[in-house]
């Protein structure tokens, strides 16, 4: 394979930032490390399911959570790199992220493969197909459905006569052969191929039978949603034409997964036609199956009203953005569909006291359905062995993933995993040294501690400049001092404690404490002793409320005492945090 020099201009420099976020109680008591590459931040985080994962956030999002909500100072150390080295690191981190997502996806695919083989063994005449559940066969054809059916029929007129029937027949023959040759030695790729052929067959059937959308997979207009205006209808017409073209070209595509893509495009096409017919925006239900959900209690309902407006505004903004879109219609539609779904869930959750489904990121409609199977001759004993083999493989894969993604306080935490990922972007330690100025071994003594790790970065790498963003409260405090230079003593007295502070409101999550010690150094042990005593008094008083709150107050008091201890040794962890409810509208936007 021939290679050339990928970047002609080697004088141009790019830079990336190593980030250290100082400690606070709660989400990251030990401080945190991350790598900022361009407008995005890569960092390793611990998830409640036990996984320790690489995450990519926008800088805005990262800043919003760590600075505005968690009130932590952010330290940045910039490293200048040649474009080749910069893109090498960026591509490496991106590829690590994709591989991580794919390995988790592979587990789900393994389950789907086993289900497919089991369904073939049992010959119970049904096969599960992702996204097929977006469609249903309706007995009653009303006016709206008539429009939908006509639009599908219209779409089919662009295909050669008998195209669908011929293709269905050909795909069935392919499937018969593929299934006939399935045996205990068949690979994952072979089973994937069979699943993808089934998906394509299902999509051809949907088109051939002009199947209509399943009403349960549609988010109909809400009572307060505005009807489509002339411009919006024109945009939707244009998008429907794009979808029509997409459906027709997917039918001829060589993409292995064209079946599942076709099913989604047909569903989107129908939901757009439905919007145009009714004059109101309708979208598909994009929540995955299964999905996490929460119930909303009465106490939360009040706070949720603030959030409700926030989510509503987001949905409205995404709607505006879609109708102003000129380039990436598919992306803009997905963003609109996802934000509308979240608003719909919250609206219905509050209105009808239902549970609210939650899922992060871009949501893609994926409701599964079943297709009736024709008879396919199978070798049952071979398939049983294959099913057993997949089960063992799944078990091994799960164990491997659990091991790979396991958090370890000294060997695999945010600092060690980050430096290991940086190092592995290069072929050997010499290359790392040449590009970054030094090679840092991931398991060097104490470098697993984020603060020490950051000091090592400063000492060893060719850092060009550093920058500190003080925590939200400290920044606001500095602004106050600047605004009122003659009043510094009063400001200090008022803002040094939680009772009179105008920059902070007491939150139970922050544990009981009286004095802020993040800006104090010399007086820290004294204030720490007061904080310890204050939490201890709370603890004694909470003994009386123990039966009512099931020991919650006592637990918080003991945490309060615990987090005051470092202050006795001139060390600060607790800084106070901010909740979503204490954000002004400007602050709520990252």
């Amino acid at each position: 394979m021939g290679v050339n020099s990928s970047h002609a201009n080697t004088h141009q420099q790019e830079s990336l930032d190593f980030i250290y976020v100082n400690s606070n109680i709660g989400e990251a008591a030990g401080g945190h490390t991350a790598l900022r590459i361009g407008e995005h931040v890569f960092h390793y985080q611990f998830f409640p399911n036990g996984h320790f994962l690489l995450v990519r956030d926008s800088w805005q999002q990262f800043f919003f959570f760590y600075h505005k909500l968690f009130n932590r100072s952010i330290y940045l150390a910039s490293l200048s790199l040649t474009p080749d080295d910069y893109y090498k690191i960026k591509n490496h981190f991106t590829q690590l992220l994709i591989e991580q997502q794919q390995s988790l996806q592979a587990l789900k695919e393994g389950d789907a493969h086993k289900r497919l083989i089991d369904e073939l063994i049992h010959q119970n005449h049904v096969l599960t197909i992702p996204r097929l559940g977006l469609f249903s066969v309706l007995d009653k054809i009303d006016l709206e459905n008539q429009h939908l059916e006509n639009s599908i029929k219209q779409l089919k007129t662009d295909l050669p006569p008998s195209f669908l029937k011929d293709n269905i027949s050909q795909v069935k023959k392919e499937l018969q052969l593929q299934i006939f040759f399935l045996n205990s030695h068949s690979t994952e790729q072979t089973i994937s191929h069979i699943q993808q052929t089934w998906d394509f067959l299902a999509a051809l059937h949907v088109l051939e039978q002009s199947s209509l959308l399943n009403p349960e997979s549609i988010f109909y207009p809400l009572a307060n949603e505005t009807p489509l205006n002339h411009h919006e209808k024109e945009v939707l017409k244009q998008y429907s034409e794009q979808l029509k073209h997409s459906i027709l070209s997917l039918l001829y595509s060589s993409r292995p997964d064209k079946g599942t893509a076709l099913l989604l495009q047909i569903a989107k096409y129908q939901v757009i036609i439905l919007s145009l017919t009714t004059g109101y925006l309708t979208t598909l239900d994009p929540f995955p199956e299964p999905v996490k959900s929460v119930s909303i209690d009465d106490e939360e309902r009040i706070i949720l009203e603030t959030l409700y407006e926030h989510v509503k505004k987001t949905a409205q903004a995404q709607r505006k953005l879609f109708f102003a879109e000129t380039q990436h219609y598919e992306i803009a539609w997905s963003l609109l569909e996802s934000s509308r779904a979240r608003f719909y869930e919250l609206d219905q959750g509050i209105e009808h006291q239902q549970v609210v489904r939650l899922s992060s990121g871009t949501l893609i409609p994926s409701r599964t359905g079943t297709i009736l199977l024709d008879y396919f001759p199978v070798k049952v004993s071979e398939l049983q062995s294959l099913s057993h083999k997949i089960e063992i493989q799944q078990h091994t894969k799960t164990e491997q993933i659990q091991t790979q993604l396991r958090y370890h306080i000294t060997n695999n935490n945010c600092a060690t995993a980050l430096i290991e990922s940086v190092n592995s972007a290069f072929k050997n330690p010499l290359e790392v040294k040449k590009s970054l100025g030094a090679w840092l071994p991931p398991n060097e003594t104490l470098s697993f501690i984020p603060f020490i790790f950051y000091q090592k970065i400063l000492a060893e790498y060719d850092i060009k400049h550093t920058h500190i963003i003080p925590s939200r409260r400290l920044k606001n405090l500095a602004d106050l001092y600047q605004e009122q230079p003659d009043n510094t003593l009063m400001i200090w007295l008022r803002e040094s404690n939680v009772l009179s502070s105008t920059l902070y409101e007491v939150r139970k999550e922050d544990t009981p404490f009286l004095f802020f010690t993040d800006e104090q150094v010399l007086s820290r042990p004294v204030f720490g002793l007061v904080n310890f005593s204050y939490a201890a008094i709370h603890g004694v008083m909470s003994l009386f409320t123990f039966p009512m709150d099931r020991g919650n107050a006592l637990y918080e008091s003991s945490r309060g005492m615990f987090f005051s201890l470092p202050e006795l040794a001139f060390w600060n962890i607790r800084k106070g945090t901010y909740g979503h409810t204490y954000l002004t509208p400007t602050e709520a936007s990252p």
Partner: protein, 143 residues
Amino acid sequence: MSYRLLFSSTLIIALCSSFISGCSISYSSGKSSDSIQSILSSSGGGNETKSTESASLYQDDVIAATVSFVNTEGTNFDFQNQISFIAQNHGITDWENEKTTYTAMGEGLRQAGVTQDNIKTLPYFNRLASNVNYSNILQAYQK
């Protein structure tokens, strides 16, 4: 002596307490019982996302996948499946009709150090040579 003991034990406790939550627990999880936190986190902080931001991330991912495809000498089947997977993560279903796909592939081929003559010899790209999208790849490659 007793002061030293107090100081050392406090330091040890401080050290332990500072690692009590490890580095950082995903803020998308928080306390699982905190539904407000969950709702806000699942909605990405409750702010709108521009399609250009998602498209830019999609582009980054396709570039990285193309570089990896060249370096690992991957197959046509795996490469297409990976592009589908990436595209879906960014809300793109028909990536074959998305121009960004091909400009990102061109950029990725350049970053991977493939010579222009060799692009046509690579799996997947050998099929594209007569396709209109090939010009988008070359345009990005030569940029």
